[in-house]
Subunit: 333 residues, 2 copies
DNA sequence: CATTTCTTCGTGAACGTTCACGGAGCGGGC
DNA sequence: GCCCGCTCCGTGAACGTTCACGAAGAAATG
């Protein structure tokens, strides 16, 4: 409806039209407080006719609850984060919350300003995929008990929740799979070495290798960057050796890309010359020739669980914790 | 800073600490209005010490400008939209605007409720990737002059802006490319037939074929769904014919996926048995064997231009228009 | 019939900020 | 000495909503 008024319809407009006070309208809209059923119906009808839409700004200001949460992501163009974002958005809207999105491009300074901006917007809580670097500013810039949940990587403080994947187990499962395929010479390419994901996935790789009594050749593992280019260069170092591994594990989708680039660059074929198992599923995995085996993270659920935990912290019905979601080995049929 | 106060620091807190009125603090913060330079410095210093962060809710309520815009996307997990979203976010933050994200999963009803929610949040404007279906509700639910810019597909109203790609030219370029590669029997798989993108890209395909004097065999074109599965089924219909085309053009990334699935299903190889040119670039295109040629859309710029146009409409310095961004044929080296 | 109780509704204040004033203080011109 | 104008700052109101009251009226109770 939204009658040809220049100004949006307010409670008072509805009140005037219905011949009641704005408080009564408020009660009718919110279905809260003592109000006669008939009056409520009548007011609601008029509100609908006028096209009344509550002003959430005013509501938030008065109630000190914005019903919005901030999502700070290090790289929205990474399918992993896009899928997490979809989970966050879905869970948030189902629970009546809005999502404010910020992208940091893995830049810790942009992350800081993004978080400050979101705080100024008075989001009720924050879901953050931390960029690489020190996060001390969280303690200084934000009120002490501000609800924050980290995803993908954790923030080193018990004040903040974290929703992560079982990185070690996932990498271990990849090793086991490769062993059943007859491999013993297995390498790994991970991202920046001071990233939690790199560390844990590399750690899981190493433990599994040891557990299975396989040699860990240090020339077969490399830490590059989180971007395909750096991973490609790191992979080339490994693959151009005469005693190269027969299989490689990667720690992320973009690194898988880089390793595939390296293989192509060297004239090698994945699945033939070198078998590949990559962290993170992607829609093209099954379309590559041969298809690529992946360790899929439960991306949607990471987003949903993060929202669930955050809302628990916001409403006081839950608390910060570190939860781990299982990964799933996807072997192409 | 954010001293151990339970309640966020307000203008009045700073004013009290500085021994001035809250209005003076406001002037110092905003750098607007008559204020002594020294006073300003002093107030600013105290504000920083107290960790003052302006409350954007209050600001927005009073000034009737939220400095936020809504981004309604039909499928954030589609890399195309993820990249557009990155462009939107970047341009918006550079210009001091926040982004509220909503995902509709191609569901027109969810789109409507998402838009209503965003309006209740009093975003200053809306960027919408319209789902399939009727969008009459925009006229009824929103104030008449509410700034809206569509992306990917347009909304049939001159009131709303649109940032689109040169779909016809892109499809035409694909045809020309295939012809230079010696193809004359060219087919096309597009999405749902009542989608603007499908129509325009199919139209561009047909015009180019006619222009080049090539036969348009109706059994060689098919409209499926926007999802890989539907596209796969549509492609199989084309490809299992004895007189199948030697090349196929697709109208989106997900459809390219579907066609590749169809080829695999039928034991055919792309680039060998059937050449493929797909709309939308994706990071794996060059890694497929052989690499796939694509018509890349200028995704980041679609997002940025949409924001630019929207802010023009919001501030009154620009107006709604339909702009088209060129596509780029990416031939793998 | 007076008093109490319950239901239903209205009034004033507040959230934190900006906007539109108005006023104090000071210097300069005649 | 008077008036004008300028610079700087403060006060009151408003944005649209919720919160904490309180009041009016009907129903119930003695």
């Amino acid at each position: 409806m939204q009658k040809s008024l220049r100004r949006p319809v307010t409670l008072k407009d509805v009140a005037a039209a219905a011949g009641v006070s704005y408080q009564t309208v408020s009660r009718a809209i919110n279905g809260f407080g003592e109000i006669n059923a008939e009056t409520s119906q009548r007011v609601l009808k008029i509100a609908a006719e006028l096209g009344y839409r509550p002003n959430r700004l005013a509501n938030s200001l008065r109630s000190a609850k914005s019903k919005a949460l901030g999502l700070v992501v290090s790289d929205i163009e990474n399918l992993f984060f896009a899928e997490v974002a979809a989970g966050v958005e879905a869970e948030a809207t189902e629970r009546g919350y809005s999502v404010l999105l910020a992208n940091t491009s893995e830049d810790i300074h942009r992350e800081r300003t993004a978080i400050l901006n979101l705080f100024e917007s008075r989001v009720d809580g924050l879901i953050v995929a931390p960029a690489e670097g020190e996060h001390d500013f969280l303690k200084t810039d934000l009120p002490e008990t501000f609800p924050v949940v980290a995803i993908n990587r954790s923030l080193s403080s018990p004040l903040y929740g974290a929703v992560l994947s079982e990185n070690r187990e996932g990498a271990g499962a990849a090793v086991e799979y490769l062993v059943t395929r007859g491999h013993t010479k297995i390498g790994a390419v991970v991202g920046s070495p001071n990233l939690m994901t790199s560390q844990e996935r590399l750690d899981g790789f190493r433990s599994a290798m040891e557990r299975l009594g396989l040699p860990i050749e240090r020339h077969w593992t490399a830490a590059g960057t989180i971007y395909p280019k750096g991973a490609c260069e790191a992979a080339i170092e490994i693959l151009k050796r005469s005693d190269r591994p027969t299989a490689i594990i990667t720690s992320s989708q973009r690194i898988t890309q880089g390793v595939l680039m390296a293989l192509r660059h060297l004239g090698l074929r994945h699945g033939v010359d070198v078998e590949l198992v990559g962290f993170d599923d992607f829609p093209w995995a099954a379309l590559l020739d041969p298809p690529v085996t992946v360790i899929a993270q439960d991306t949607h659920n990471i987003g949903r669980k993060a929202v669930a935990m955050l809302l628990g912290m916001i409403t006081g019905t839950g608390e910060a914790a570190e939860i781990r979601l299982p990964t799933r080995l996807v072997v192409p049929s």
